[in-house]
Structures are given as structure tokens and as C-alpha cells.
């Protein structure tokens, strides 16, 4: 690849170029050179080793080491599978959509390298139901790749075989959870599976399966092409590389910004996204999609990498930064977020099924002025009951934002008690 070490936008460099979504355009930019290098020059174990050494972490929200995940794949007689999780549904996140629509071949190349490394025979690209354009772009790219000998039997003359199938989801947030995705992929209701067994042992159709996020795959060709040291020159020691920060909310320049992990949140909000409208102040910022705990204005000096965000009791999530200014009613925010989780809970586990609805009802009671002091305590108790006790992390994701809103903005909740007039009348108006 042509990426020079000083280029910090290796993922997004060509996204403005329409031709980059085509095989020709992608190959003109040295596309598929990394895949060729992998299948011709590197053993699967060497690829896994490179990825593990690079420190690449999953960009879907959990932030687990990609190389280690690949190393969990058992070496047995069963055919192995790969899944590209393109069910991007976290409110505040829109990075995968751009990659799918504008750089589908980069994702396919990442998939090919991962397939080589994990000895997978087939990849399912599971695309969020609402992402029609993204699915069409990936389908076009897959067809071109077959045509160009980059998929199918004997890829690039190496003898390696791989198939890619594009699957459309039906629009459920929970199908972004990897085992919920696998259930949906198998044609069942999207409900996360209890673990163990983990997907590497029994994934899609009972076969060993690795599931990675779209953006995670997109980093892989760059690492293989440019090396571990190059990749580690971006970001922090524990969180190397760049990521695509999607900034939305009350900022002047919302959009997608590719920046090294570890970039300060205030730099993202004020320098890159232009800050809040004149005369307003930042009230709070959600650092990584609505399931991640909010940070108050005073804590924006944090570096955006899990090792630093952890100290502030929050996480990077998907890097979807949501900015709220001082007109925002945090009870209203809690209401919107809790409604989302209530609507999207799959309904298996007691705490999540009942807790998401109970929290939403309690928050709405407070919002409409019918709340009492004790309701705040109940909210915290219920959120506590939902944390760390369920089949998947959805329940935590529903509990954390409420806990954080109460931790940092309890006075907003208290100001609603016994008054039918919202203290923030302009909230959500602009």
C-alpha cells in the first residue's frame, strides 16, 4: 500500500473516490496486494502472529484482541467459518456504513486474509437490514471479486478456496451481538446464545466461527502490507492504530473522523467537530455509542482509548461520539436511551426483559413530573440488578447509561421531581 508512515488516515484515505468501491479502482490503489502477500508468502500462523503482535483490537465495541480471537479457532476436521459483522446498529455509530459503501473491497481483502489465517472456507457478511446501499455495494464487490479470481477456487493461483455470502438482517439491534447474529444467520430468532460454548468452538451451524466487525477487517490489509511497527506508530501502546470516530449531536461539524486511538475527546469535539453552537456549552458527551456511560463536560480531557476511558468508568465502544449541549435534559436523554433498549431487548433474560421496560417506565414517570425521590433509588437498584448477570452484554449496555446519567446528572432528575414543567424546555428542539 502507498500509505506513508505520516499518513494517519489510512482507512479513510480514498473514501472520497467513487472508483475506490470498484475492483479496478481498489486495485489501482494497491488493493489486494496484502491478501496476495498473505496467501503466497505467509503461513496462517504467521498472519495470526502478525495481527496479534500489531495489537489490533476489535472495533465493534468490545475491544478484544483480534489476533487472539483468531488463535482460538480449533484445528479439527470441521470446516471453519468467518462472519463479518456488518449489523452496525449502535445509536451514534455510522463508521461501518461508510466503509461498506465506499470501500467494500478493503473489507473483502481483510476477510480474505482472516480466512487464510483461520482456515475458514466461507464468510458470511451479515449486513444490517436498513443498510440497503451498503449491502448492494458489498454484493457488487463480491461479484467482482469472484470475476477477478479473488474469491472461489484457487484464489490468486494459490490453491486457497474461499466463498463469501452476503446476508441481510431484518433490523434488530441484538443481531449485532455475535451469537445473536449467528442465530439470525441460521434463520432463527435473533437471541444471543449462552456461553460457553463460544463461537470458535460452536458458532454458525455448529461449526468453528470467528466473528469480526467491519472496521476490524478493514485494518487487517494495512497491517499485513505495512507491518506491525508501522501500525503501532499510531495510537497508544495498548490501543494501537486509528479508528473512525463518528461525531454526532450538537456540534457544528458532525461527521466521521479517522484519528489515532488515544486522541483526546476534547480535541475530537472542539477541533475536529467544531464544538457546540455559539452561546452554548457542552453538557455531556457519550464517547462510544449510547450503551457507553456518558462523560460530563469536565471530563473531556480524557484520551479516547479503553485504558484511559476505563478510569472514567466508561469505554470506547464503537467510537460513536454523541455531544450534548447545555440545553439538553438528561432525563429526556435517559428516556430516549431506555426506550431504545426496551424496544430492542430480545427478551430472554429476566433482568433485561423486565428491567429495560421498568427503567423506561420509571424514567418517563420522572420526566413527566410524577416521580418521587425513591424512584431514583429504584432506578439505581434495577440498573444494578441488570449488570453483569445476563446471557449477553445488552443488559449491561442498557444499565450503564442510566447509571452514568444518574452519577453525573442526578440534579437533572431531582429537578424533575414534583414538577410537570421540564426544566430544560429547549431540549431536543435544536
Amino acid at each position: 500500500m502507498r500509505n506513508a508512515p505520516f499518513v494517519t488516515n489510512y482507512l479513510s484515505e480514498h473514501l472520497a473516490d467513487d472508483a475506490y468501491a470498484t475492483l479496478d479502482g481498489y486495485q489501482r490503489a494497491d488493493g489486494y496486494a496484502a491478501a496476495r502477500k498473505a496467501v503466497r508468502e505467509l503461513s496462517p500462523d504467521e498472519v495470526i502472529e502478525q495481527i496479534e503482535l500489531s495489537g489490533l483490537t476489535g472495533r465493534g465495541g468490545a475491544g478484544f484482541s483480534t489476533g487472539r480471537k483468531w488463535s482460538f479457532m480449533p484445528r479439527d476436521e470441521r470446516p471453519a467459518l468467518l462472519v463479518c459483522n456488518a449489523d452496525e446498529s449502535e445509536p451514534g455509530s455510522f463508521k461501518d456504513r461508510l466503509l461498506l459503501e465506499r470501500a467494500p473491497h478493503k473489507i473483502l481483502e481483510g476477510i480474505l486474509i482472516a480466512a487464510w489465517a483461520t482456515r475458514a472456507q466461507k464468510t458470511f457478511v451479515y449486513v444490517r437490514g436498513e443498510y440497503a446501499a451498503a449491502a448492494a455495494a458489498v454484493e457488487r464487490a463480491v461479484a467482482e471479486a469472484y470475476e477477478g479470481g479473488l474469491l472461489g477456487d484457487d484464489i490468486m493461483g494459490s490453491g486457497f478456496r474461499h466463498e463469501i455470502v452476503v446476508v441481510r438482517g431484518a433490523g434488530a439491534y441484538i443481531c449485532g451481538e455475535e451469537t445473536g447474529l449467528l442465530e439470525s444467520l441460521e434463520g432463527k430468532k435473533g437471541q444471543p446464545r449462552k456461553k460457553p460454548p463460544y463461537p470458535a468452538e460452536r458458532g454458525a451451524f455448529g461449526l468453528p466461527t470467528t466473528v469480526n466487525n467491519v472496521e476490524t477487517f478493514a485494518h487487517v490489509p494495512h497491517i499485513i502490507a505495512n507491518g506491525v511497527a508501522w501500525f503501532r506508530s499510531f495510537g497508544t501502546e495498548q490501543s494501537p492504530g486509528t479508528t473512525l470516530f463518528g461525531v454526532s449531536g450538537q456540534v457544528l461539524r458532525p461527521g466521521l473522523f479517522e484519528l489515532p486511538l488515544g486522541t483526546r475527546l476534547d480535541e475530537i469535539v472542539f477541533e475536529h467537530a467544531g464544538g457546540v453552537p455559539e452561546g452554548r456549552k457542552v453538557k455531556g458527551v457519550i464517547p462510544g455509542g449510547v450503551s457507553m456511560p456518558i462523560l460530563p463536560a469536565g471530563q473531556l480531557d480524557v484520551r479516547m482509548a479503553n485504558e484511559f476511558l476505563h478510569e472514567r468508568h466508561t469505554r470506547l465502544g464503537t467510537g460513536g461520539v454523541i455531544v450534548m449541549d447545555d440545553t439538553t435534559c438528561m432525563v429526556r436523554v435517559a428516556s430516549v436511551i431506555s426506550y431504545f433498549f426496551r424496544d430492542e431487548s430480545c427478551g430472554q433474560c429476566t433482568q433485561c426483559r423486565e428491567g429495560t421496560g421498568f427503567i423506561n417506565k420509571l424514567v418517563d414517570r420522572i420526566e413527566r413530573g410524577a416521580g418521587e425521590e425513591r424512584d431514583i433509588g429504584i432506578l439505581l437498584d434495577v440498573a444494578g440488578s441488570m449488570e453483569g448477570q445476563t446471557i449477553c452484554a445488552f443488559s449491561d449496555a442498557a444499565a450503564w447509561p442510566i447509571q452514568a446519567l444518574l452519577r453525573h446528572f442526578r440534579s437533572d432528575f431531582e429537578a424533575h421531581l414534583g414538577t410537570e414543567t421540564c426544566p430544560f424546555p429547549a431540549s431536543f428542539e435544536s
Binding site: 430468532k189 449462552k194 424496544d343 431487548s345 433482568q351 426483559r353 423486565e354 421496560g357 448477570q389
Partner: protein, 539 residues
């Protein structure tokens, strides 16, 4: 291979590779020494892991673990009653109750409701929710036997798994998601299979109840007695719920060697036949006018004995047939066999009605003791009907009315030509038109004895109910008849235990099986036990 684990202060050895709840269940400790409350887990269904009530603390794990899906490993230390565990349970219980209608006073599950029990044992004292509760379908007949209350459902999905995994019929599903999730049937497909009533047994709450039992009687007013279902040769272990002098319901009693935790719907109906209105309640004797008239037992026995003695004296014992019933106990049948030996009657049989089987529980032989009848020596094919039709028989002692089944004799014509017909039966039947002597008998739930199921498991029945009128076990009637005929070994008394002991002594298949030794789970016939021991030795 076993591993040693510590649960609270109890150190136990359990099978390797098992999940914690399963391991404790194997060891017979669950709900006895160790209580881990749970809703979705059931020993005979797949693991669901969704109710989250069985969370326990496992040393070395930062999060609480669900006992239903946590593998036991050697040296594992588990706490089931720490403060963290108690808080987690209280949290689950509070959330399970925020949408529950709390209509316990009018709910028929009250008294055996796990939600109620666990709310008292593990929940908070009071409800903290002011929020509106879900309003859903109530009192819906989702099948011929089952009534569904959707509001009370806690979505443990046991019923859904039962229909998927046990019957394979898949009538139930969870529709919607989040707190809009509901269990329901698919449009136009009722819950209608031969095991549908099991979903009411496994439903931990009052969401699924049986049309048959609901609102009949409060469960705390039931006398519950152990029994064996007599509907087919499986011999499912059951518990009869008795109140107001009648069987109000039959539910399965767990026996992993026989029926697991299930029983079929026809079996439940058959158990209700104990108290059917057509039960015989007094001996009857056909008078000179050709009508059956009530008689006391001594008169009835003497009349039967006189007719048999006269015939045997005139024509020899060859003209006497013994038609046994595979509904009678091993002891009854052994007494009958001995009687026929003693008098010298060679024509013997125990016709067993055959029907459909399903590979789950329902067996083709529709009598609880068909295997026992065979083991004692009776031919169960119905060949005896040919002997009667051929005219070689002048008198018959008939136990039950299975012989009337279309496969055997059809109508009563052939029996009408007999000189003497002595009938011992539970219910009124066509035999009444042709019987000379009619003596009421006891149902399996009204007497002591044993039944041998199709797999060769000898199981105990107990005198749990009083018959609706006068009734004697078949063996007792035979003993009276034998004494009246002056046959050796018959004194007119009846003690099932001593007959059982005699059977154990005289028939090697029943070696070692005496009524008193047959516990609640039953004992295998000697050859079955040997076969099982050999098989496990080889394994």
C-alpha cells in the same frame, strides 16, 4: 470419572462434565440438602439459561454464574447463599414481578406456585413498582386440555422446549421481544398432542393449567398418593390427587427408569376412571328369573363354587377356562394361576388389548401388567377366544372385560352359550348380560400389590383409595372361591405380601422381588436386572 466440589459447607463427589444443577440433581441433593431456586431449568429439558435465578458464586469467578450452565470442575467451591447471591435473586424476583398480575387469590396455581414460593423465600418484602402492568390474554383454551393465562407467564420457556424437544410437535413459541415477549401458539395450530398436559405440570406459575383440574379443588386440600398409571404397559409413576373421596387429578411422579417426569394425556384420563360412575358396587347373582340380583359375597362365592363343582364333577376340569386380566396385579394373577393349576383347568389366557404406541411413553399393550401376566405364564394374545368359540369350554372365570375387545371375542354370543360364567370386574360391561355371578373388584389404587411394566420393572401399587362400594381384589375372590371348592393352598384369606413372597419363591423371574422390598422406584425382574448388570459391567 468424578470430581470433588464444595457447595456451601457440603463436600460432594459428582460426575465430571456435568453442569452444577444437573450434578446436584444426579446426586439427589437438589431441593433437599441444597436449594438453588430456578425457573427455566428442568432436568429433562435442554438448558435455557434465561431466568437467571440460579446464579451462584463460584470461587475464582468475578461474576455470578448460573448453576444450570456452569460445568463442575475438580476443587470447585460454590456459595449458594452469600449476600451477593441473595441480592441477585432478590433483583430477579423483583423484576419477574413487575409485570405479573399478582392475582394469586384467584389463581389455581396457588399452593404449588414457584413464583409465589420464591417471592416469599428470595424476594423483597414489598413491591416497589407503581408502573402499569402488562395486560394480556387470560383464560384462553389453547388446546383441548390446556388453558393459558398469558399475563402470569414468566417466559421460562419450559413449555416451548417441551413441545420442541419431547413431543417434537412445536406448537408453542415465544413471539415478540423485550417486555412485549409472549408465549403463544402459532395461528390456527392448537396445543393438541398426547402429552399436552405436561406443560401444566412444568409451568412453574399459573400460566398453564388443565381444563380438567382447574378450580376443582385447592391443591392444599388434596391428599397426594403415589400410584402407577394403568393405561398401558409402560406403568408410568404417578401421584394421585385425592379429595372429596375421588381422584381429582393424576400427575407424573419422577422415575428416570420408567417415565422420567412425564405421563400422557390418555393416561391421566384413565386414572380418573377409578371413580367412574359405572363402577360395580356389590356382588350380583343371576336368579331363576334370569335377572341379576344383589347378593352377599358368601352367597355369590358359594353359588359360583357350586356351579363349577357340578360341571367339573360331570365333565372334568378341562371344560373350565380361566380368562385373566392384565390389569390385575402380579399377586392376583399368581393366585389365579395357582387356582387354575390346583383345579386342573388347562385353558388359560390374559387377552391384552393392543393399540398405538409412539416411541415416547405410550406402549402398544393397553394394560399395566401385561408383562407380569406373561411372566406368570398367561398367554396374552387372545388365543383363548378361539377355544371358547370352538365350544370346548363350558365354564369360564373372567377377570375384567378385555376379552370383549373386538380383536378377541367381539360380542357376548360365544359366552352366552356357556353353562357358567363367573365375572370379576371393576365396571359395568356387556358381560352383565351373560354373567351368572358378578363380583366387583378393586382398582390398582385401591389395593396393595405389584405390577410389572413392559421393561420388566416391578412397581408397587398401594391401597390409597376406598372403592365406591363393596369390592375385593381379584386374588381375594379367587382365594374365597378356592376355599369354597376345597382346593389346597386356599383358605379364603388374602394377604398380597405373602402371595408376593410365594411368587418370589416359586417363579425364578420374580426371585428376590417381594412386595415389601419394592420401593417407590420399583425393582427389575431378576433376568432384567442381570441383563442390566451385565451391560453396565461391559460398558
Amino acid at each position: 470419572m468424578t470430581v470433588r466440589i464444595t457447595v456451601d459447607d457440603l463436600e460432594i463427589e459428582v460426575r465430571e462434565g456435568r453442569m452444577l444443577l444437573q450434578a446436584l440433581d444426579d446426586a439427589g441433593l437438589l431441593a433437599h440438602e441444597i436449594e438453588i431456586p430456578h425457573f427455566c431449568w428442568h432436568p429433562k429439558l435442554s438448558i435455557d439459561g434465561s431466568c437467571r435465578l440460579c446464579q451462584v458464586e463460584v470461587e475464582g469467578e468475578s461474576k455470578l454464574q448460573i448453576a444450570c450452565n456452569t460445568k463442575v470442575v475438580d476443587g470447585m467451591v460454590v456459595r449458594t447463599d452469600s449476600e451477593r447471591v441473595r441480592n441477585a435473586r432478590a433483583g430477579v424476583m423483583e423484576l419477574l414481578l413487575v409485570n405479573h398480575p399478582l392475582d394469586c387469590p384467584i389463581c389455581d396455581q396457588a399452593g404449588e406456585c414457584k413464583l409465589q414460593d420464591f417471592a416469599f423465600d428470595h424476594g423483597r418484602r414489598a413491591c416497589r413498582s407503581h408502573e402499569p402492568r402488562r395486560t394480556l390474554a387470560k383464560n384462553v383454551a389453547i388446546g383441548p386440555e390446556i388453558v393459558f393465562d398469558q399475563e402470569r407467564c414468566i417466559l421460562c420457556r419450559r413449555c416451548v422446549r417441551f413441545c420442541n424437544e419431547v413431543t417434537g410437535t412445536g406448537e408453542l413459541g415465544v413471539f415478540g421481544r423485550g417486555d412485549a415477549s409472549v408465549v403463544d401458539t402459532f395461528p390456527g395450530v392448537p396445543l393438541d398432542n398426547a402429552y399436552s398436559m405436561n406443560v401444566a405440570d412444568i409451568c412453574p406459575v399459573g400460566a398453564l393449567t388443565t381444563r380438567d383440574f382447574r378450580f376443582k379443588v385447592r391443591v392444599w386440600d388434596l391428599d397426594e398418593v403415589d400410584g402407577i398409571c394403568t393405561g398401558c404397559a409402560r406403568g408410568c409413576n404417578i401421584r394421585l390427587g385425592v379429595a372429596k373421596g375421588a381422584v381429582q387429578r393424576a400427575v407424573p411422579r419422577r422415575n428416570d427408569a420408567v417415565n422420567g417426569t412425564w405421563m400422557c394425556d390418555p393416561g391421566r384420563s384413565s386414572c380418573r376412571a377409578v371413580g367412574a360412575p359405572d363402577r360395580l358396587t356389590e356382588p350380583r347373582l343371576r336368579g331363576r328369573d334370569g335377572r341379576l340380583a344383589p347378593a352377599d359375597i358368601a352367597t355369590a362365592i358359594e353359588a359360583a363354587a357350586a356351579r363349577i363343582r357340578r360341571l367339573v364333577d360331570a365333565k372334568g376340569a378341562g371344560v373350565l377356562a380361566g380368562i385373566a386380566s392384565a390389569h390385575a396385579t402380579n399377586e392376583d394373577l399368581f393366585a389365579f394361576w395357582k387356582f387354575l393349576d390346583s383345579i386342573g383347568a388347562g385353558t388359560r389366557g390374559a387377552p391384552v388389548v393392543r393399540g398405538a404406541s409412539d416411541g415416547i411413553l405410550i406402549e402398544p399393550e393397553k394394560a399395566a401388567n401385561a408383562r407380569g401376566a406373561r411372566e406368570i405364564g398367561f398367554d396374552v394374545t387372545g388365543a383363548i377366544a378361539e377355544r371358547i368359540r370352538s365350544g370346548a369350554v363350558d365354564a369360564a372365570i373372567v377377570l375384567g372385560h378385555d376379552i370383549l375387545d373386538a380383536q378377541f371375542l367381539g360380542g357376548t354370543e360365544a359366552l352366552a352359550t356357556l353353562d357358567t360364567l363367573v365375572v370379576l370386574d371393576l365396571h359395568q360391561s356387556e358381560l352383565h348380560h351373560v354373567a351368572d355371578v358378578l363380583i366387583p373388584t378393586r382398582h390398582a389404587a385401591e389395593k396393595d400389590g405389584t405390577l410389572t411394566n413392559s421393561m420388566g420393572r416391578v412397581q408397587r401399587v398401594r391401597r390409597a383409595l376406598e372403592p365406591p362400594g363393596q369390592a375385593w381384589s381379584e386374588g381375594h375372590v379367587i382365594s374365597l372361591l378356592g376355599a369354597a371348592l376345597g382346593l389346597a393352598g386356599f383358605d379364603g384369606g388374602w394377604d398380597a405380601a405373602s402371595v408376593s413372597a410365594e411368587l418370589a419363591r416359586s417363579n425364578p423371574r420374580f426371585a428376590g422381588i417381594e412386595l415389601a422390598k419394592v420401593g417407590s422406584g420399583g425393582l427389575d425382574l431378576a433376568d432384567v436386572a442381570v441383563a442390566a448388570a451385565t451391560a453396565s459391567g461391559e460398558a
